[in-house]
Amino acid sequence: MPDLILDGRPLRVADGTSVAAALALGGDGCSRTSVSGQRRAPLCGMGICQECRVTIDGRRRLACQTLCRDGMQVETRP
């Protein structure tokens, strides 16, 4: 059961949970802010659309293709 930090808040999820799923389990489900200021959430779920890109431990990653790990810091706002 990995413990992670999502936008500053602690969250525990089941093993094998993707970061995309964690966004909905621990927040409003959103992943990023678009160039015109809209909040967006994962769309394609399979690593194509890039809507779910978040910052994980300082690196830009796709939430739908990343599994939650202990100690991960996930940020959805720049």
Binding site: D15, V35, A41
Partner: protein, 418 residues
């Protein structure tokens, strides 16, 4: 850093796994690469809320047990630094892989078409929703509407319901006659018949499509055209997918010829580029059985075992027949080209509205005039959408094929002197 392999396989879904297993007895070293955290592709996606069929688990275990197969997860192709070489990146590092033979098993993605409100949080692809649920997305007691086209709508509904969601409606754009005609042909593929009955659903409506996703900051409801009547319903999620699009970008970038929007292959699954093969949905949509047999043929052909590959050709023909029936039944209604309004965003990366694109000549002019297709997804979503809306042909992608780290691009310098 660089690595050498006899056979490099891109994609560890049914086609890639079957290719690896078929090639393993005759290849000294095989590298299998996939951008997902676990093997299985989209159809056999594993996760905390997924049920992976026994056949898939068995194939996965057989491949991973081969001592000469090296499997890299979470890794994607970034560039082609030289002949028979690809630059790849995972979460930690970038490196080059040199190969004798390459098999592309890059799969398909969903066709996502723009309609008013489709950028609202709460709207996903249909297969997209299924993938997200399998990976742990909570949907218990949520009201879900699924719309678009093809059997994937039913599969997505089944996964949502298994995980406690209330599926209010499944809106299939194809006519009742087309769906019935397809179902009537299913006895030709008995295994598929069983799947179709297991999936059939009383919320299913044919000749129905989405008109708009409703809500301000997130989805609150949906407006549908249902058999000629406009209906609205409140919902928590809307999942829309209009069929599948082969992922041909990497093949195109390597110079492989494309036919009918898929990578063109010959009898042996060989592309027009010597030493490069392709199998599964990147050569045309048709389901996992077709992908498995194509993958096996490609794997055998790539290691020179045409005799064994030849024995599989009849099975492949059978599944090609299924694919043809599927594509005919679920051909898209031209009405779906007029869902977007002037201010509907078509390119979600650069937030380019429909009005900025309508009337332009082609994909290239759209990129120059509006930045459409120039964002992070590199036109994978809006390129397929504008192909449908305006008939534009997206150009072959240029490297980096995916957003990459500077550290990875520095690995291009590993190229040996000519």
């Amino acid at each position: 850093m660089s690595e050498y392999t006899n056979l490099l396989i891109i994609g560890a879904g049914p086609a890639g796994l079957a290719a690896a297993l078929a090639a393993a007895p005759r290849a000294e070293r095989i590298v299998l690469l996939d951008d997902n955290p676990l093997p299985g592709g989209q159809i056999w996606r594993a996760g905390p809320q997924a049920k992976v069929p026994a056949q898939a688990r068995q194939l996965r275990e057989q491949v991973l047990a081969c001592a000469n197969v090296r499997y890299y997860s979470g890794a994607r192709v970034i560039a082609q630094p030289g002949p028979d070489t690809l630059l790849v990146e995972d979460a930690e590092r970038g490196w080059q892989i040199r190969y004798d033979r390459l098999i592309l098993c890059t799969g398909a993605r969903e066709l996502l078409l723009p309609f008013p409100g489709w950028t609202l949080p709460g709207v996903t692809g249909a297969g997209g929703l299924q993938a997200l649920i399998k990976a742990g997305l909570p949907v218990r007691d949520q009201r879900i509407v699924i719309a678009g086209s093809g059997p994937l709508l039913l599969a997505s509904a089944a996964t949502a319901r298994d995980n406690g969601a209330q599926v209010l409606r499944i809106a299939e754009q194809a006519s009742a006659a087309a769906v019935a005609g397809f179902a009537a042909q299913l006895p030709r593929w008995p295994h598929k018949l069983l799947q179709a009955f297991a999936l059939f659903d009383r919320q299913y409506r044919s000749a129905s499509h989405v008109l708009a996703a409703l809500g301000n900051d997130r989805l609150e409801g949906v407006r549908l055209m249902q058999n000629g009547k406009v209906v609205e319903m409140a919902c928590d999620r809307l999942a829309c997918g209009f069929g599948l699009v082969p992922n041909i970008q990497l093949g195109q970038a390597l110079g492989c010829a494309v036919a009918l929007d898929a990578i063109a292959v010959d009898t042996w699954q060989a592309t027009t580029v010597p030493g490069v093969y392709a199998a599964g949905e990147c050569t045309g949509f048709g389901g996992s059985e077709r992908a498995l047999v194509e993958g096996a043929i490609a794997g055998l052909a790539a290691v020179g075992n045409r005799q064994a590959a030849h024995r599989l050709l009849r099975r492949r023909d059978r599944w090609h027949g299924f694919a043809a029936a599927l594509n005919k039944a679920f051909a898209l209604d031209p009405a779906l080209k007029s869902l977007a309004t002037a201010d509907t965003l078509v390119c979600r990366c650069e937030d380019v509205p429909y009005a900025a694109l309508a009337g332009l000549r082609d994909w290239r002019q759209a990129k120059l005039a509006s930045r459409c297709g120039m964002g992070a997804c590199q036109g994978r979503v809006c390129g397929a959408a504008t192909r449908h809306l305006f008939g534009w042909q997206p150009s072959a992608p240029r490297p980096p094929f995916s957003p990459a780290r500077i550290d990875t691009l520095l690995c291009l310098d590993d190229t040996p002197d000519a």
